[in-house]
């Protein structure tokens, strides 16, 4: 009996300890760490000299600065972390002293967690990478998930900070702005282009990317005649509205969007684009449906031309060699014809609303992505993503034969019409793509007009249900 009591008491003690541990684990947040503001390191590794304004603002010598270290939390998508070795740059920045950046990989559902944290007033992360403006910008601003960075850039102690805004390609600056405020710092820009595998174009006597839709169909037909027995598909497009119809509309008109912020899919340019897409399939140069596993087949060297994000050309270069693939702009409806550039987007780092260390976050971004950090820009360019600063194009791209195509894209982007500021792109992508797929599939029973009218009806029905317009 006595031993039974003793055992019971021991179990009870353990149970109590377990409950106490659970309560302790669930309660309380991180204690804030504060330190005297430290100057942001420059790209050369020397601490920035305090400016006169800073010196006058520094506390008196009799008041010692706090010793606790500031840790700035940055969470980023896995592909952003891996693509251009972001952890290496974080390590380099941290070694310079000052606020320490703690980089973590984004978890699933991070955005719902962030919004809950913002409501509670205790946000774990300071910054997020990345925002894709045409999909995320309006959503993130309207839900007050992110904060503008204009003032933070102005007050940043990073050497390059104030040079940033003036150095961005103007359309890229517009892309990351909303209602007159800047909402992030971009690290690269992507646009839609037409890529090719050199051996197939060379094989039919072509040395350059076809410049027009007719030239493209012509080239694809020649490639099909020569390489069909090797099961090479001449042409395909990556499965997405922006990598198919939207890109072609941009290449055929100056006004790709309607007054109500939708892609003008029933306009003349769109109908011509639809006819052209159908003609590719009818000619047998594009597989039925147009885009089944296109990028997969491209990377297996069985697709000679691809309409997709321009980084896919670099993917092929990495696999098959620098001279094995090329990247060019989307062909135009007519040579020298009217166009509105290409759909594009800036991969942008943002600062969360109610972040604990917004200034330190922007200091890091400005150091990382400032014009003088050539090593970072080299890594970004090598990953196949185009830079966002005019000075980088001048100093690193224009005289580099391997990446000169990026300069062509900079010119296209500089003249592109931006996607309207609304939340409708995902709706259009989901509602229009099934109609395109049906239109380009045998037995081709749907005309371009019918398909686009049907698609527009679906889009408008869904858009009418949205309150945020």
């Amino acid at each position: 009996m006595a031993s039974k009591l003793v055992r019971r008491n021991v179990l009870g003690i353990f149970a109590g300890a377990g409950v106490a541990l659970l309560v302790a684990a669930c309660g309380g947040g991180q204690t804030g760490t504060a330190s005297a503001p430290a100057a942001a390191p420059t790209a050369s590794g020397n601490s920035a000299q305090p400016t006169a304004a800073q010196s006058s603002a520094q506390p008196a010598a009799t008041q010692p600065a706090a010793k606790t270290q500031v840790t700035v939390e940055l969470t980023a998508a896995d592909w952003v972390i891996q693509e251009w070795k972001l952890p290496d740059w974080v390590t380099q920045y941290n070694k310079m002293g000052g606020p320490q950046i703690h980089l973590t990989q984004q978890v699933d559902g991070w955005d719902t967690k962030v919004l809950a944290m913002i409501r509670q007033g205790d946000v774990l992360w300071d910054g997020v990478g990345i925002m894709t403006p045409f999909v995320d910008k309006v959503k993130w601003v309207e839900t007050q998930m992110i904060q503008p960075v204009d003032q933070l850039i102005q007050s940043s102690t990073a050497t390059d900070a104030r040079a940033l805004a003036g150095d961005w390609v103007p359309t890229i600056k517009d892309d990351i702005s909303y209602k007159g405020k800047i909402y992030g710092i971009p690290y690269s820009v992507e646009a839609i282009g037409q890529m090719w595998l050199t051996e197939f174009l060379d094989g039919v006597g072509l040395s350059a990317n076809p410049a027009t839709w007719a030239d493209t169909l012509n080239a694809a037909t020649k490639i099909n005649d020569k390489y069909a027995s090797q099961k090479v598909s001449p042409y395909a497009w990556s499965n997405g509205l922006h990598t198919s119809l939207q890109a072609l509309i941009h290449s055929a008109t100056k006004t790709p969007y309607t007054g109500d912020g939708l892609l003008d899919i029933t306009g003349t340019a769109s109908l011509k684009a639809c006819d052209w897409l159908t003609s590719l399939v009818k000619a047998g140069v594009t597989p039925p449906h147009g885009s089944d596993g296109a990028v997969d087949v491209w990377q297996k060297r069985k697709l000679s031309m691809l309409l997709a994000q321009n980084s896919r050309g670099v993917w092929a270069q990495r696999i098959f060699g620098m001279t094995a693939a090329g990247t060019g702009t989307v062909p135009l409806l007519e040579a020298g014809g009217v166009n509105s550039g290409s759909p594009f987007w800036s991969n942008t780092f943002v600062v969360l609303n109610k972040a604990k260390h917004p200034q330190e976050m922007v200091d890091f971004y400005a150091w990382l992505l400032g014009p003088s950090n050539k090593d970072v820009w080299t890594a970004i360019i090598a990953s196949g993503k185009a830079p966002v600063l005019n000075s980088t194009y001048k100093s690193m791209i224009e005289n580099n034969k391997d990446y000169k195509w990026m300069a062509d894209f900079r010119d296209v982007i500089a003249n592109s019409v931006a996607y309207p500021e609304n939340t409708f792109w995902s709706i259009q992508n989901a509602k229009i793509m099934p109609w395109i797929s049906k239109m380009v599939s045998p037995p081709f029973g749907l005309s371009s007009q019918q398909a686009m009218e049907g698609a527009l009806k679906d889009v408008k029905a869904e858009v009418a249900k949205q309150q945020v317009q």
């Binding site: 959503k139 039925p288 309150q467 945020v468």
Partner: protein
């Protein structure tokens, strides 16, 4: 004789006895209270992460909660969501129909295949071999679903997938199907992948039931001249009724079919695989305002259908309690 005039009643002893009797009575009614202390953490977590979301989802299904619209969490709108679902949503019924088709393709086949495999494994005398086959049957179940379905995407590849390579090179089929790109083939292809992923779990459940049937019944039937098929029909299947009930109830959620459509085809081609579960996901997390209230309403309807199916199953296949 002892002078008892100043004797005090033994109150301490009475109190002790009262406490003892109270504890005994409480233990009899409530059991040992330490048990409650032990289960309290798990119960708390269950209430927070399982029960509360059910009630929150239930409440959300009657609101016009839009993630992008601040303050809309409790914007009650009565039955408007359901009115829109049934009368003003051109995609709801087609998606529901696709989900039903998927379920009819996948579930009966799953049931028959897993039962057949379980019967075959149960007839293996060598315990090592039987164990090996059980592991092989269950392996797809433990694979992460995205890995399993992306694997099938590669198998289905029109140009490089093994299926079409075999069809072309072994069977001489000139134009093998575009498994995931042809609207006619896409849904069955997705159903087959889902079937491969899930049938192992049902096989194991059937095996548990089969192993629980007494050998003597089969021996008695053999003596009476019953063949193998007769034994299966007359003995095995009736005695597996509780397992059938369990499997049907556990698999009622197949109607949503979200992951398969999302990972393999994203609803394409031409919305041929846009199941109701995927459509709910699009409404909640992709389209415009991110209409969580409307998505919750559709999910509630799915949940009620699942409950209805479970209820019908219990009613039709009810078994006597032993």
């Amino acid at each position: 004789m002892a002078d008892l005039s100043h004797a005090q009643p033994d109150r301490t002893g009475t109190l002790r006895q009262f406490a003892r009797e109270y504890r005994a009575a409480r233990r009899q009614r409530w059991g040992n209270l330490w048990g409650y202390a032990f289960i309290a953490p798990a119960l708390t977590l269950y209430l927070i992460f399982n029960v509360w979301p059910i009630f929150r989802g239930l409440a959300m299904a009657f609101t016009d909660y839009r993630y992008l619209v601040p303050g809309s969490e409790w914007a009650w709108n009565g039955a408007s969501n359901y009115q829109e679902m049934f009368t003003n949503d051109s995609q709801f019924w087609p998606s529901f129909g696709i989900s039903v088709q998927y379920t009819l393709m996948s579930f009966p086949t799953n049931l028959i295949l897993s039962l057949a495999v379980a019967l075959l494994i149960s007839r293996i005398r060598n315990s090592f071999l039987a164990g090996t086959y059980r592991v092989i049957a269950y392996l797809p179940v433990i694979l992460p679903i995205s890995v399993a379905l992306l694997l099938w995407n590669q198998l289905y590849n029109t140009q490089f997938g093994y299926f079409n390579l075999i069809l072309q090179n072994v069977f001489g089929v000139q134009s093998p199907p575009n498994w995931l790109g042809d609207p006619g083939w896409a849904l069955p292809s997705v159903a087959v992948a889902g079937l491969w992923k899930d049938f192992g779990a049902n096989t194991l459940l059937f095996l548990v039931g089969i192993y629980g049937i007494s050998r003597e019944i089969y021996e008695a039937a053999s003596i009476d001249g019953a063949g193998a098929l007769q034994q299966i029909w007359s003995i095995t299947l009736p005695l597996l009724r509780p397992i059938f009930v369990l499997i049907i109830v556990l698999n009622a959620g197949i109607l949503g079919a979200t992951e398969q459509a999302l990972i393999m085809t994203n609803g394409g081609p031409q919305n041929a695989t846009l199941t109701l579960g995927l459509y709910i996901y699009q409404q909640a997390f992709q389209f415009g305002d991110l209409r969580l209230g409307y998505a919750a309403a559709m999910s509630l309807l799915l949940g009620l259908i699942h409950m209805g199916l479970a209820g019908i199953t219990f009613r039709v296949l009810r078994t006597e309690r032993i």
